[in-house]
Amino acid sequence: MNSISEKKLPGDFAIWIFIYAELLVFGVFFASYAVTRSNHVELFNQSQLMLDRTAGMVNTVVLITSSWFVVNAVHAIKAGKQNLSVRWLAGSIGMGGIFLGVKMFEFITKHNEGITLSTNKFYMFYLSLTFFHFMHVILGMVILGVILVMARRGKYSATEYTGIETGASYWHMVDLVWIILFPLVYLIQ
């Protein structure tokens, strides 16, 4: 048994290599956005005003809440509460579904306005960045779904919860990236 003072990364170590690689990719994406914007400030500011900031805010709250649910799922399994852990995981996946629904609404609205990747440089970044993140949300939901099924089958317990921590860590990365993406693309003028 680990002593309380022993420090370790939560979950499987391999997921952290993946998470750090993902952060690097998103970091380059964000830096590219900022550099390109500095050369097209007016275009970016005007195009940004056409975005649905309320939808962006709602999705931020939804993703933060989903992350909180996942934290609670981890704490529940550590306390030996398998059923509660399953419920928190289900809630988290549900929140992920709401995020996808709101984002789809935004994508469809922009599509109906005739906006595409080639409309201008801002929309090229907006659509590609948010779609790239959208795909990560889907992957995160698949991972959480697998964990949910395994938790329901009693694969995790108060002494063996590495799988839940692994999925949770990935999901928090998806949340962390959105925490930068939202102000960068939707708010900062």
């Binding site: 309320t54 909180w68 860590s169 962390l176 708010l187």
Partner: protein, 102 residues
């Protein structure tokens, strides 16, 4: 030897319940902070604020939110420093680049 009990519940189970409730309470406070900062950012955006003050507030809110997620949700507070520092450095670097480019 049978496990010790209090009110017919094993002591270990009661301790687990207590730990669980405390952790939910703690993370709920973090969640409230994260949502409040999100709403602050949204308000700044909807008010159409721009300039250095708005930029500072939005990036400052993102920094605090990001570090909350890193420390308490990703549980980097329990990770070795050499690994725990990576997402924090990433966060600072990304926000610094954004600030410099604006």
């Amino acid at each position: 030897m049978p496990n010790a009990t209090i009110n017919s519940q094993p002591v270990n189970s009661q301790q687990n319940d207590l730990d669980y409730r405390n952790s939910i309470r703690k993370t709920f406070v973090i969640w409230v902070g994260l949502v409040s900062l999100t709403l602050l950012g949204y308000w700044i955006g909807m008010e159409g604020m721009s300039g250095n003050l708005a930029l500072g507030l939005l990036l400052g809110a993102a920094l605090i939110k990001g570090q909350f997620v890193i420390t308490y949700f990703m549980e980097m507070v329990n990770a070795p420093l050499k690994w725990a520092i990576i997402p924090t450095v990433w966060l600072l670097l990304v926000l610094a680049i954004i600030a410099l480019m604006y």
